[in-house]
Amino acid sequence: MALIELIDISKSFDGELVLDEFNLKIEENEFITLLGPSGCGKTTTLRILGGFETPDTGRVMFQGEDITHLEPNKRQINTVFQKYALFPHMNIADNIAFGLKISGKSKEYIKDKVKYALKLVNLSGYEKRSVDSLSGGQQQRIAIARAIVNEPRVLLLDEPLGALDLKLRQEMQYELIRLKNELGITFLYVTHDQEEALTMSDKVVVMNQGYIQQMGTPEEIYNEPENAFVADFIGDSNIIDGVMMEDRVVKICDHIFPCIDEGFGRKTPVDVVIRPEDVIIGRPGEGILDGVVTSNVFIGVHYEMCIEAGGFEWLAQNTVSYPVGAHVSIGVTPENIQIMNKPQSEDEEAMALDE
């Protein structure tokens, strides 16, 4: 039995549908991430789980028990809020002890537990400090400590790293993975940052406009996006109109590319996804089609180039720089070509549209 089950949840605000018959199962001890652009319904899902919103229809099950209308203070779920939401007039120890005091734990127990929680988030000895004297990253750790001392079954995290700078964000990502492994509890993480989602999660749920677009391991989501929205949202990609000629052969920009996908039929129009790092640049005539470099930007790890070829502007990443105006060729190895069905109905199209 799944630990948490969301069944046919719908929710609208001011007549605007945010979640539409949303279904999700969360297993025990899983790091699951809801990923999507702002307004996709991911935070609403989290708030419904925390008990801060009631769904219009549908049920929330916790270990087979219906908790749809249970108040937030009676749930075995704790939340780490986006802006930390620490209590500014209490010191760090009192902040962390807040939940324990309510549940009537003994003074000794609370003291030990606070100490343990601070050690867990690498902030030992900070008991007497005031909230204001801590940096953003430290406040975030305290917010996590405050939630986990209550030994919740599930920890909800609402874009907890959103306010931190890049370096700290990366550090905290490893910290969170370590915490999850040490505590052995379920993490439900909400973010719009695809890198965060891919780094930390066991399972990623890509959402848009209240629908689940794709669910799977980070590798599945990245390597085998099911539709154009997922391909576009997760990392950079070239999404090109193509025609599936027969099994393992696709025609893009009037050129034949060998691929490894089967079962699309003959002469079927499809969407083709090619990641920019998979575009092989060579001398003219070496690849499958020739083109001209139209722009070239250095972004640190590699150069990002646009190549005009076959009537399409290809995004390519390479550690070798090709100057603007250079004549080059483009090739792709068969296993790096991902074929997707084109949306069949308007409804499906709407699902795939970016806001």
């Binding site: 925390g50 203070n73 704790n78 939940g99």
Partner: protein, 259 residues
């Protein structure tokens, strides 16, 4: 040159602001009854003031009305702020606009309309009507000073408290209230001052026999002012001055502690 000019300018401002009050204070210690000659130092007006039952009663009324009006309007105002802050954008703006109208409204209009309402409903004018009138005009001031605190409430702290197992009441008293406390205190003090300060509204809503300091002084002016009222005014000024200094020192110390 520029510096001396600055100094003179500042001195002139201070002179205009405080010379009248200073004159009053000096005269309150004057031995004679005359307003324009210094007879000699004496405390007789202070003695007379403290012996005067009318003044002491009016002083008592002023303080008790101000205290109860400020207390009641603070409770009502904070509750109102809780409701308003939970509203959607449009009704909230509308309500805050409505809240500001009584602030700008002329006291005379408020006073007369309150008096008419009391009489229409057959309520005879007495201590109670003055208190009710004061509560009425104090509420907008409380809302005005508490509302910003609600708006800048640390994001989601209330929800965080619920999340950690607190009941809504516990969360309010333990988490929300300490956060908005500075707003509540300044709202209370503002209401208190407004109540002490008020003459016009009190004048129309008080019945016969009830006096506050301001209405008492007003009625005495008609029969000729006695220097004991200088003594009273001096006392009020000094009291306010001391309270102001104490409040400033406390808040300054608190700021230092926080930073």
């Amino acid at each position: 040159m520029k510096k001396t000019f600055k100094g003179i300018y500042l001195f002139l401002i201070m002179l205009f602001l405080y010379l009248p009050i200073f004159t009053l204070m000096v005269l309150s210690f004057n031995g004679g009854k005359t307003m324009n000659a210094w007879v000699g130092f004496s405390l007789e007006w202070y003695e007379e003031m403290f012996a005067n039952r009318q003044i002491m009663e009016a002083l008592g009324n002023t303080v008790s009305i101000a205290f109860w009006a400020a207390s009641a309007s603070t409770v009502i105002g904070v509750l109102a702020c809780m409701g308003i802050s939970a509203m959607k954008e449009k009704p909230r703006t509308l309500l805050m606009g409505l809240n500001n109208i009584p602030l700008l409204n002329a006291d005379i209009v408020t006073g007369i309309s309150l008096m008419l309402s009391f009489l229409m409903f057959g309520i005879s004018l007495n201590y109670g009507t003055v208190l009710m009138a004061h509560i009425t005009f104090c509420i907008p001031y409380v809302i005005l000073s508490v509302m910003p605190k609600f708006r800048q409430l640390e994001n989601h702290t209330y929800e965080a408290a619920l999340d950690l197992g607190a009941t809504p009441a516990y969360a309010f008293f333990k988490v929300v209230l300490p956060d908005i406390m500075p707003g509540i205190v300044s709202g209370f003090l503002l209401a208190f001052t407004m109540s002490v300060d008020d003459f016009v509204i009190t004048h129309f809503t008080r019945g016969a026999g009830i006096n506050t300091i301001s209405t008492l002084i007003y009625s005495q002016v008609r029969v000729g002012i006695r220097p004991m009222l200088y003594a009273l005014s001096t006392l009020i000024f000094v009291t306010v001055f001391i309270i102001l200094i104490v409040v400033n020192i406390i808040s300054h110390k608190k700021e230092e502690k926080e930073s």
